[in-house]
Symmetry: C2
């Protein structure tokens, strides 16, 4: 009886937690760090402030968990990418798209906040390093690049730096038309450098 | 008498204003938007809160002026760059350096804050567009690139996007060793594409 009754309650609790984390990310992307308080996030999630505090006693707890959640979701997005493709333009566009959605926007706000918030700093830095390594490995696979060849590693790194810069350029204005032309040209360049 | 007496007073006032703007930029780079209040900035500048409010009655006034100040300083940094050089590696390193100093860091905080602060948004967006155009023109000059040739414009744009991404990567950790290797490889690539 006890275990049967506990399961749905646990499910509900997990669902509430999940909803709070999703809302934390949405609020970060929309209102930035300073606009994302526990109260704002709880309201967005349709959860009482008390229930939110049951899961995350402090703002720090909530956003520490949100950082991990963002990292997990970005990992999932990486693993969901297509297999290596001969279409370099599609591969570069796929990589760049990782940096233009709401997940990157939330990560960017965390990133910038972490540079000034001692309680966020080390955790965000660690997770960014992990995500950076995963993204690089995935980019190498997607492009079918041979990292043993000189310069290939730095080419892929620079390409991801460019993708990050394009994401930043997209923060204040819709930069998609210009971005498309940059992607097209750099796909050509990467084709040449990697001798695809 | 009157005019002679007024001049030093005006000079002092200008110097105070200048000091407040410099401090606003330093505080932004060090503490981010949410940590940069008028009180914090006045204290950093060694100016009384009253004197600060004489120059800038509201936080909005102060940071609106600071945005323009940052734009002006970035413009000055651009105009101070060396003449066109045959050394592509030096040219790329010069461009990338524009995105790794405290001025970019302050601009980044403003940029991210502007995405959520309606009073900052349009002003920062307008100034970023102006600075973006100036930077592009300067990069073309520095590289001696011929924009009439197909793909050259997008090559330079992508290079500046990469520089921006490298600046962002440098926010939480010292990324200089990796950055140097990326700059070296991308200078080689740009050499090939621009047929320098």
């Amino acid at each position: 009886m006890n275990t049967r009754g506990a399961a749905p309650k646990q499910d509900r609790s997990r669902a509430t937690r999940q909803r709070l984390l999703e809302s934390a990310v949405t609020c970060l992307a929309e209102h930035g760090w300073s606009g994302s308080t526990v109260t704002v996030v709880a309201e967005h999630a349709g959860v009482s402030r008390g229930a939110a505090q049951h899961h995350f006693p402090t703002r720090e707890d909530l956003f520490t968990a949100a950082v991990e959640y963002v990292a997990e979701e970005r990992s999932k997005a990486l693993r969901a990418l297509p297999a290596p493709t001969a279409d370099t333009r599609a591969a570069v566009a796929t990589l760049v798209a990782l940096y233009t959605g709401p997940l990157f926007r939330a990560a960017l706000h965390l990133w910038v906040a972490a540079s000034n918030e001692p309680q966020l700093g080390p955790r965000v830095t660690g997770l960014e390093a992990r995500i950076g390594r995963e993204t690089h490995r995935m980019a190498v696979d997607l492009l079918g690049a041979d990292e043993a060849a000189p310069g290939v590693r730095e080419t892929v790194q620079g390409l991801l730096d460019m993708a990050r810069g394009l994401g930043l350029a997209n923060l204040l204005t819709d930069d998609s038309a210009r971005r498309e032309r940059v992607v097209e040209q750099w796909a050509r360049i990467v084709d040449d450098v990697l001798e695809r």
